[in-house]
């Protein structure tokens, strides 16, 4: 077992973990943050996307021990009480979610994308979301949501 300390959504969390524990399972099982989902086992689908020191990463491809000393933001850390984050609000207004399973991953990927590129073209959005898969929406409204969030200055 290895001791780690990770700041998650602004709160410092300490734990003793098996080195083989993936960050996504640490978040879900140790910390009870179940918004981050596991959709595949080949780092392809991005449903597990969180921010690690402000950048999007696939938490299924990071060991919890690698996250020691870092700041992690999950989907649960976006809204301020009742007020949704502009990206979440844009997803809602553009009907960019159906079953919802890929949604937290997409939202986190979009937050990171807009941070690095605040005014992306449609092509840049589509390529910027290459690491996230969705079976329900056909991506059309997800692209609209990222465009709307960009306009809102997200």
């Amino acid at each position: 077992m290895t001791k780690i300390a990770v700041t998650v959504n602004g709160t410092r969390r300490e734990a003793d973990v098996e080195p083989r524990t993936l960050l996504v399972y640490f978040l879900r099982n140790e910390l009870g943050l179940q918004g981050t989902n596991v959709g595949c086992d080949t780092s392809s689908c991005g449903a597990c996307t969180v921010l690690l020191d402000g950048e999007s990463v696939k938490s299924c491809t990071v060991l919890a021990v690698q996250a020691d000393g870092t700041e992690v933001t999950t989907v649960e850390g976006l809204a301020q009480g009742d007020e949704l984050h502009p990206v979440q609000q844009a997803f809602h207004e553009q009907h960019a979610l159906q079953c919802g399973y890929c949604t937290p991953g997409f939202v986190m990927a979009a937050v990171s994308l807009l941070k690095e590129n605040p005014n992306p073209t449609e092509e840049e959005i589509r390529h910027g979301l290459e690491g996230n898969l969705c079976r329900c929406t056909g991506y059309h409204n997800i692209v609209r949501a990222v465009q709307a969030a960009a306009r809102a200055g997200a």
Binding site: L22, S44, S56, L63, S112, E130
Partner: protein, 270 residues
């Protein structure tokens, strides 16, 4: 799904990493983890010890060094994609970095980890071979420099010893370089990748996914050196190679793609 159990150590320096690697015969380096962790999850790899070098910030850099550019092995793809010095002196490497995987992968994956994994389909591996890059490794006997031509020894096999850590990659300053790849989907490994660059006055061409390792297209290079125009030289792209047949393409299709992409890459070289 869930990896098999392993021991874990974090290295505070390159030398400490080398020492820690000696603690188990099957110990492996953990850098960005984007080559290793997928193997662990499917239990295709079951090392008893992982040595985490992810905090070695002093191995993350891009520096001009005379007529070469020195790249720290732990530089992430995202770092290289936006590095100004690299863009100025060897833009090909930065361009390749920008096209690896997807944004999340690029925030974690490192050039050293990617190259040491020695996937015959790796974009970086083909480009470094094309550029005649030098790879610097630190081991129990000190530091040594390995030429790219000697580095890739087989599929997922490199010249690195089990106790060696890649610390730096040195590429020539190259003003003119192109990398083209055919992928089924954007995030996929190259069905075939072709790198072409003007190096030391000649044109080098390297291929990904055309054999058990990245390969130089020797027949193309000698045709070009003999004055052949791009289209004629490119016809030799697959010569002497046995490309694999898999779900991404048959050997015949790969050979065809190699010719087409080589011709296009050569035409794009100014």
């Amino acid at each position: 799904m869930i990896p098999a159990q392993f021991e874990y150590e974090r290295a505070g320096s390159a030398d400490e990493a080398v020492e820690l690697l000696g603690r188990a015969d099957d110990a492996k380096i953990l850098a960005g983890g984007h080559s290793l962790i997928p193997l662990l999850r499917l239990r295709f790899a079951r090392p008893s010890l992982l040595v985490d070098v992810g905090r070695l910030g002093d191995l993350r850099y891009v520096r001009e060094d005379g007529d070469r550019v020195a790249i720290g092995a732990l530089s992430r793809h995202a770092d290289l994609a936006r590095d100004a010095a690299l863009a100025q002196h060897c833009a090909l490497v930065g361009a390749v970095a920008a096209g690896i995987g997807d944004p999340q992968v690029r925030h974690r994956g490192t050039i050293g980890g990617s190259v040491a994994h020695a996937d015959p389909g790796s974009d970086f591996a083909a480009v470094l071979l094309t550029l005649d890059a030098e790879l610097v490794a630190r081991g129990p006997d000190g530091e040594r420099t390995i030429a790219a031509a000697d580095f890739f020894t087989g599929p997922f096999e490199s010249a690195l010893g089990q106790r060696e850590l890649l610390t730096e990659i040195r590429v020539p300053k190259v003003a003119d370089g192109v990398y083209l790849k055919y992928t089924r989907r954007g995030q996929d490994w190259a069905t075939v990748g072709v790198a072409a660059a003007r190096v030391d006055g000649g044109v080098h061409v390297g291929l990904a996914s055309m054999g058990p390792t990245p390969l130089r297209a020797a027949a193309v290079e000698s045709a070009l050196a003999g004055g052949a125009p791009p289209a004629d030289a490119a016809a030799h792209a697959a010569e002497g190679m046995s490309p694999p047949s898999d779900v991404n393409g048959t050997a015949a299709y790969r050979a065809h793609l190699a010719q087409v992409l080589t011709r296009r890459a050569l035409e794009q070289l100014s």
